[in-house]
Protein backbone atom coordinates (compact mmCIF):
# COMPACT_ATOMS: atom_id res chain seq x y z
CA UNK A 1 0.00 0.00 0.00
CA UNK A 2 1.34 3.42 -0.88
CA UNK A 3 -0.05 6.63 0.49
CA UNK A 4 -0.10 9.94 -1.22
CA UNK A 5 -1.09 13.48 -0.28
CA UNK A 6 -3.33 15.36 -2.69
CA UNK A 7 -3.18 19.15 -2.37
CA UNK A 8 -6.58 20.76 -2.68
CA UNK A 9 -6.34 24.30 -1.27
CA UNK A 10 -10.01 24.90 -1.70
CA UNK A 11 -12.29 27.18 0.28
CA UNK A 12 -14.94 25.13 2.04
CA UNK A 13 -17.56 27.80 1.36
CA UNK A 14 -16.30 28.35 -2.20
CA UNK A 15 -19.71 27.71 -3.71
CA UNK A 16 -21.32 30.34 -1.47
CA UNK A 17 -18.48 32.78 -2.09
CA UNK A 18 -18.84 32.39 -5.86
CA UNK A 19 -22.60 32.91 -5.73
CA UNK A 20 -22.09 35.94 -3.47
CA UNK A 21 -19.57 37.43 -5.90
CA UNK A 22 -22.17 37.05 -8.67
CA UNK A 23 -24.81 38.77 -6.52
CA UNK A 24 -22.40 41.57 -5.61
CA UNK A 25 -21.76 42.21 -9.30
CA UNK A 26 -25.47 42.30 -10.09
CA UNK A 27 -26.16 44.69 -7.18
CA UNK A 28 -23.42 46.99 -8.48
CA UNK A 29 -24.75 46.89 -12.04
CA UNK A 30 -28.26 47.68 -10.80
CA UNK A 31 -26.98 50.48 -8.56
CA UNK A 32 -28.74 49.16 -5.46
CA UNK A 33 -27.17 49.42 -2.02
CA UNK A 34 -27.53 46.09 -0.22
CA UNK A 35 -27.26 45.73 3.56
CA UNK A 36 -27.19 42.57 5.65
CA UNK A 37 -28.58 43.04 9.18
CA UNK A 38 -27.30 40.57 11.76
CA UNK A 39 -27.99 40.26 15.49
CA UNK A 40 -29.22 37.90 18.21
CA UNK A 41 -32.91 37.03 18.25
CA UNK A 42 -34.83 39.79 20.01
CA UNK A 43 -32.41 42.67 19.43
CA UNK A 44 -35.00 44.55 17.44
CA UNK A 45 -33.87 44.11 13.85
CA UNK A 46 -37.45 44.09 12.62
CA UNK A 47 -38.52 47.19 14.57
CA UNK A 48 -35.39 49.02 13.38
CA UNK A 49 -36.11 47.97 9.83
CA UNK A 50 -39.80 48.95 10.07
CA UNK A 51 -38.77 52.50 10.89
CA UNK A 52 -36.05 52.50 8.22
CA UNK A 53 -38.34 51.24 5.42
CA UNK A 54 -41.22 53.53 6.34
CA UNK A 55 -39.05 56.65 6.50
CA UNK A 56 -36.98 55.96 3.39
CA UNK A 57 -40.15 55.26 1.45
CA UNK A 58 -41.76 58.47 2.70
CA UNK A 59 -38.69 60.36 1.51
CA UNK A 60 -39.03 58.95 -1.99
CA UNK A 61 -36.44 56.16 -1.93
CA UNK A 62 -37.20 52.84 -3.57
CA UNK A 63 -36.70 50.21 -0.88
CA UNK A 64 -37.34 46.50 -0.42
CA UNK A 65 -36.49 43.85 2.14
CA UNK A 66 -35.80 40.14 2.35
CA UNK A 67 -36.30 38.69 5.80
CA UNK A 68 -35.00 35.37 7.08
CA UNK A 69 -36.51 33.26 9.84
CA UNK A 70 -36.64 29.55 10.54
CA UNK A 71 -40.44 29.59 10.35
CA UNK A 72 -43.42 31.99 10.01
CA UNK A 73 -43.92 35.03 7.83
CA UNK A 74 -44.71 37.26 10.83
CA UNK A 75 -41.77 39.58 10.19
CA UNK A 76 -42.55 39.95 6.49
CA UNK A 77 -46.10 40.95 7.35
CA UNK A 78 -44.89 43.49 9.90
CA UNK A 79 -42.41 44.99 7.45
CA UNK A 80 -44.89 45.02 4.58
CA UNK A 81 -47.01 47.52 6.54
CA UNK A 82 -44.39 50.08 5.48
CA UNK A 83 -45.68 49.71 1.92
CA UNK A 84 -42.32 48.44 0.70
CA UNK A 85 -42.09 45.07 -1.07
CA UNK A 86 -40.99 42.42 1.42
CA UNK A 87 -40.30 38.75 0.88
CA UNK A 88 -39.95 36.17 3.64
CA UNK A 89 -37.27 33.48 3.46
CA UNK A 90 -38.02 30.47 5.68
CA UNK A 91 -34.89 28.43 6.28
CA UNK A 92 -36.71 25.56 8.05
CA UNK A 93 -34.06 24.96 10.66
CA UNK A 94 -30.99 26.43 8.97
CA UNK A 95 -29.37 28.98 11.26
CA UNK A 96 -28.30 31.55 8.64
CA UNK A 97 -29.09 32.88 5.18
CA UNK A 98 -26.76 31.98 2.32
CA UNK A 99 -26.16 33.42 -1.12
CA UNK A 100 -28.19 30.70 -2.84
CA UNK A 101 -31.30 31.52 -0.77
CA UNK A 102 -30.92 35.21 -1.63
CA UNK A 103 -30.52 34.49 -5.34
CA UNK A 104 -33.60 32.25 -5.38
CA UNK A 105 -35.74 34.84 -3.62
CA UNK A 106 -34.63 37.66 -5.88
CA UNK A 107 -35.78 35.62 -8.88
CA UNK A 108 -39.43 35.92 -9.69
CA UNK A 109 -40.14 38.51 -6.99
CA UNK A 110 -43.41 40.02 -8.14
CA UNK A 111 -42.90 43.58 -9.35
CA UNK A 112 -39.40 43.89 -7.89
CA UNK A 113 -36.21 44.17 -9.92
CA UNK A 114 -32.81 45.13 -8.56
CA UNK A 115 -32.61 47.94 -11.09
CA UNK A 116 -35.79 49.45 -9.68
CA UNK A 117 -34.39 49.74 -6.14
CA UNK A 118 -32.21 52.19 -4.26
CA UNK A 119 -31.87 50.04 -1.14
CA UNK A 120 -32.31 46.34 -0.43
CA UNK A 121 -32.23 45.30 3.22
CA UNK A 122 -31.64 41.69 4.16
CA UNK A 123 -32.69 40.82 7.70
CA UNK A 124 -30.72 37.70 8.58
CA UNK A 125 -31.85 34.90 10.89
CA UNK A 126 -31.37 35.97 14.52
CA UNK A 127 -27.98 34.44 15.32
CA UNK A 128 -24.63 36.02 16.16
CA UNK A 129 -22.45 33.12 15.05
CA UNK A 130 -23.23 31.40 11.78
CA UNK A 131 -24.33 34.33 9.57
CA UNK A 132 -20.80 35.75 9.81
CA UNK A 133 -19.44 32.93 7.61
CA UNK A 134 -21.88 33.50 4.76
CA UNK A 135 -21.30 36.35 2.36
CA UNK A 136 -24.59 37.47 0.76
CA UNK A 137 -22.88 39.87 -1.62
CA UNK A 138 -23.88 42.80 0.59
CA UNK A 139 -21.93 46.03 0.57
CA UNK A 140 -22.61 46.73 4.22
CA UNK A 141 -22.92 44.25 7.05
CA UNK A 142 -24.66 45.78 10.04
CA UNK A 143 -24.27 44.24 13.49
CA UNK A 144 -27.06 45.19 15.90
CA UNK A 145 -26.93 45.06 19.66
CA UNK A 146 -29.68 46.06 22.10
CA UNK A 147 -29.16 47.75 25.45
CA UNK A 148 -30.69 44.71 27.18
CA UNK A 149 -28.03 42.31 25.94
CA UNK A 150 -25.00 43.39 27.92
CA UNK A 151 -22.11 45.61 26.95
CA UNK A 152 -19.75 42.66 26.48
CA UNK A 153 -21.66 41.14 23.55
CA UNK A 154 -19.00 42.29 21.03
CA UNK A 155 -16.29 40.57 23.13
CA UNK A 156 -18.32 37.38 23.33
CA UNK A 157 -19.05 37.32 19.59
CA UNK A 158 -15.95 38.91 18.06
CA UNK A 159 -16.28 37.16 14.71
CA UNK A 160 -19.53 38.84 13.84
CA UNK A 161 -18.64 42.27 15.20
CA UNK A 162 -15.23 42.18 13.56
CA UNK A 163 -16.76 41.42 10.17
CA UNK A 164 -19.32 44.26 10.41
CA UNK A 165 -19.11 47.56 8.56
CA UNK A 166 -21.48 49.40 10.88
CA UNK A 167 -22.89 48.78 14.35
CA UNK A 168 -26.34 49.78 15.59
CA UNK A 169 -27.29 49.92 19.26
CA UNK A 170 -31.06 49.48 19.57
CA UNK A 171 -33.63 50.25 22.32
CA UNK A 172 -31.75 53.32 23.55
CA UNK A 173 -35.05 54.58 25.01
CA UNK A 174 -34.77 51.97 27.77
CA UNK A 175 -31.01 52.28 28.28
CA UNK A 176 -31.34 53.89 31.67
CA UNK A 177 -33.70 51.44 33.41
CA UNK A 178 -31.55 48.61 31.98
CA UNK A 179 -28.46 50.10 33.57
CA UNK A 180 -26.81 50.16 30.15
CA UNK A 181 -23.20 51.33 30.38
CA UNK A 182 -22.86 53.24 27.12
CA UNK A 183 -19.16 54.03 27.40
CA UNK A 184 -18.23 50.39 28.01
CA UNK A 185 -20.37 49.22 25.10
CA UNK A 186 -18.75 51.74 22.72
CA UNK A 187 -15.28 50.80 23.97
CA UNK A 188 -15.96 47.10 23.48
CA UNK A 189 -17.26 47.56 19.94
CA UNK A 190 -14.17 49.61 19.11
CA UNK A 191 -11.85 47.01 20.64
CA UNK A 192 -13.22 44.38 18.26
CA UNK A 193 -13.72 46.58 15.22
CA UNK A 194 -11.61 49.71 15.53
CA UNK A 195 -13.08 52.80 13.90
CA UNK A 196 -16.47 51.26 13.01
CA UNK A 197 -19.44 53.65 12.61
CA UNK A 198 -21.83 53.23 15.53
CA UNK A 199 -25.45 54.40 15.64
CA UNK A 200 -27.34 54.70 18.93
CA UNK A 201 -30.98 54.30 18.05
CA UNK A 202 -34.49 53.75 19.26
CA UNK A 203 -37.27 52.44 17.04
CA UNK A 204 -39.76 53.78 19.61
CA UNK A 205 -38.63 57.42 19.65
CA UNK A 206 -36.69 57.60 16.38
CA UNK A 207 -33.51 58.64 18.21
CA UNK A 208 -30.38 58.25 16.12
CA UNK A 209 -32.32 57.49 12.96
CA UNK A 210 -31.40 60.72 11.16
CA UNK A 211 -27.73 59.88 11.55
CA UNK A 212 -28.44 56.42 10.18
CA UNK A 213 -30.25 57.84 7.14
CA UNK A 214 -27.34 60.21 6.57
CA UNK A 215 -24.97 57.26 6.58
CA UNK A 216 -27.16 55.32 4.11
CA UNK A 217 -27.26 58.27 1.72
CA UNK A 218 -23.47 58.65 2.02
CA UNK A 219 -22.93 54.97 1.27
CA UNK A 220 -25.23 55.08 -1.71
CA UNK A 221 -23.47 58.10 -3.12
CA UNK A 222 -20.09 56.44 -2.66
CA UNK A 223 -19.56 54.07 -5.57
CA UNK A 224 -16.46 52.51 -3.98
CA UNK A 225 -17.24 48.85 -3.27
Amino acid sequence: MTTRIVELRRGILKKNDELAAGLRASYATAGVLVLNLVSSPGTGKTAFLEWTLRELKARGSRVAALVGDLETDNDARRLAASGAPVRQINTHGICHLDAEMIGKHLDGWDGVTLGGLDYLFIENVGNLVCPSSYDLGEKIRVALLSVTEGEDKPLKYPTLFNSADAAVITKMDIAEPCGFDRETALTNINEIRPGIRIFETSAKTGAGMEEWFGYLAEQRANPRA
Binding site: T3, E7, L8, I12, I94, N127, L155, P158, P194, G195
Partner: protein, 124 residues
Protein backbone atom coordinates in the same frame (compact mmCIF):
# COMPACT_ATOMS: atom_id res chain seq x y z
CA UNK B 1 -24.36 25.36 14.62
CA UNK B 2 -23.57 25.25 10.91
CA UNK B 3 -20.69 22.81 11.36
CA UNK B 4 -22.64 19.92 9.83
CA UNK B 5 -23.19 21.83 6.60
CA UNK B 6 -19.52 22.79 6.59
CA UNK B 7 -18.25 19.23 6.95
CA UNK B 8 -20.82 18.04 4.42
CA UNK B 9 -19.28 20.48 1.99
CA UNK B 10 -15.81 19.13 2.86
CA UNK B 11 -16.97 15.57 2.17
CA UNK B 12 -18.52 16.67 -1.12
CA UNK B 13 -15.39 18.52 -2.27
CA UNK B 14 -13.01 15.69 -1.40
CA UNK B 15 -15.27 13.11 -3.04
CA UNK B 16 -15.32 15.22 -6.20
CA UNK B 17 -11.54 15.69 -6.14
CA UNK B 18 -11.12 11.97 -5.64
CA UNK B 19 -13.26 11.19 -8.67
CA UNK B 20 -11.16 13.60 -10.74
CA UNK B 21 -7.90 11.80 -9.94
CA UNK B 22 -6.24 9.73 -12.67
CA UNK B 23 -7.28 6.13 -13.16
CA UNK B 24 -4.30 4.80 -11.21
CA UNK B 25 -5.89 6.19 -8.05
CA UNK B 26 -9.28 4.65 -8.68
CA UNK B 27 -10.62 2.87 -5.64
CA UNK B 28 -8.33 4.79 -3.31
CA UNK B 29 -9.42 5.22 0.27
CA UNK B 30 -9.10 8.52 2.10
CA UNK B 31 -7.00 8.28 5.25
CA UNK B 32 -6.88 11.88 6.34
CA UNK B 33 -8.34 15.28 5.45
CA UNK B 34 -6.53 18.44 6.52
CA UNK B 35 -8.33 21.71 7.10
CA UNK B 36 -7.06 25.21 7.80
CA UNK B 37 -9.44 27.13 10.01
CA UNK B 38 -8.90 30.75 11.08
CA UNK B 39 -9.46 31.70 14.71
CA UNK B 40 -12.24 34.03 13.50
CA UNK B 41 -13.93 31.56 11.17
CA UNK B 42 -16.74 31.08 13.70
CA UNK B 43 -16.65 27.31 13.71
CA UNK B 44 -16.06 25.02 16.67
CA UNK B 45 -13.37 22.49 15.86
CA UNK B 46 -14.76 19.83 18.25
CA UNK B 47 -18.11 20.18 16.58
CA UNK B 48 -16.53 19.80 13.12
CA UNK B 49 -14.85 16.59 14.27
CA UNK B 50 -18.08 15.27 15.74
CA UNK B 51 -20.08 16.02 12.59
CA UNK B 52 -17.37 14.65 10.32
CA UNK B 53 -18.01 11.06 11.40
CA UNK B 54 -21.67 11.42 10.50
CA UNK B 55 -21.15 13.30 7.23
CA UNK B 56 -18.48 10.90 5.93
CA UNK B 57 -20.47 7.75 6.57
CA UNK B 58 -21.01 5.71 3.41
CA UNK B 59 -18.52 7.81 1.42
CA UNK B 60 -14.89 7.11 0.45
CA UNK B 61 -13.99 9.31 3.43
CA UNK B 62 -15.59 7.03 5.99
CA UNK B 63 -13.19 6.20 8.80
CA UNK B 64 -10.68 8.88 7.84
CA UNK B 65 -9.15 11.37 10.26
CA UNK B 66 -9.98 15.04 10.19
CA UNK B 67 -6.97 17.17 11.09
CA UNK B 68 -7.67 20.82 11.80
CA UNK B 69 -4.98 23.45 11.87
CA UNK B 70 -6.21 26.57 13.67
CA UNK B 71 -4.64 29.76 12.34
CA UNK B 72 -4.19 32.76 14.63
CA UNK B 73 -5.45 36.19 13.62
CA UNK B 74 -2.83 38.27 11.83
CA UNK B 75 -3.44 42.00 11.39
CA UNK B 76 -1.48 44.63 9.55
CA UNK B 77 -0.27 47.40 11.85
CA UNK B 78 0.11 50.71 10.01
CA UNK B 79 2.37 52.49 12.55
CA UNK B 80 4.68 49.45 12.88
CA UNK B 81 4.53 48.83 9.14
CA UNK B 82 4.30 45.08 9.63
CA UNK B 83 1.93 42.15 10.04
CA UNK B 84 1.38 41.18 13.65
CA UNK B 85 -0.12 38.08 15.20
CA UNK B 86 -2.80 38.65 17.84
CA UNK B 87 -2.76 36.63 21.03
CA UNK B 88 -6.53 36.28 21.08
CA UNK B 89 -9.71 37.69 19.60
CA UNK B 90 -10.67 40.07 22.41
CA UNK B 91 -8.74 43.06 21.25
CA UNK B 92 -7.71 44.12 17.77
CA UNK B 93 -4.73 46.18 18.83
CA UNK B 94 -1.14 45.72 17.80
CA UNK B 95 0.67 43.74 20.53
CA UNK B 96 3.79 45.81 19.85
CA UNK B 97 2.54 49.41 19.84
CA UNK B 98 -1.03 49.12 21.18
CA UNK B 99 -2.62 50.93 18.23
CA UNK B 100 -5.92 49.57 16.88
CA UNK B 101 -5.60 47.57 13.63
CA UNK B 102 -8.37 47.19 11.09
CA UNK B 103 -6.72 45.35 8.23
CA UNK B 104 -6.87 41.58 8.62
CA UNK B 105 -4.29 39.41 6.89
CA UNK B 106 -5.27 36.03 8.34
CA UNK B 107 -7.98 34.66 10.59
CA UNK B 108 -11.10 33.90 8.57
CA UNK B 109 -9.76 30.94 6.57
CA UNK B 110 -12.02 27.98 6.14
CA UNK B 111 -10.34 25.72 3.65
CA UNK B 112 -9.39 22.19 2.76
CA UNK B 113 -5.63 22.08 2.49
CA UNK B 114 -5.12 18.50 1.33
CA UNK B 115 -6.13 14.91 1.78
CA UNK B 116 -4.16 11.71 2.04
CA UNK B 117 -5.12 8.56 0.19
CA UNK B 118 -3.86 5.04 0.08
CA UNK B 119 -3.52 3.74 -3.41
CA UNK B 120 -4.55 0.23 -4.06
CA UNK B 121 -1.65 -1.58 -5.71
CA UNK B 122 -2.45 -3.13 -9.03
CA UNK B 123 -2.30 -6.89 -8.69
CA UNK B 124 -1.60 -9.02 -11.66
Amino acid sequence: MHELSIVSSVVESVTEALAALPDSSRGARVLEVRLRVGALASVVTESLEFCYGIASEGTPLEGSRLVIQVLPVVMHCEPCGQDVELEGVQSFRCPCCGEPCSEMRQGRELEIESFEIDEVEETA
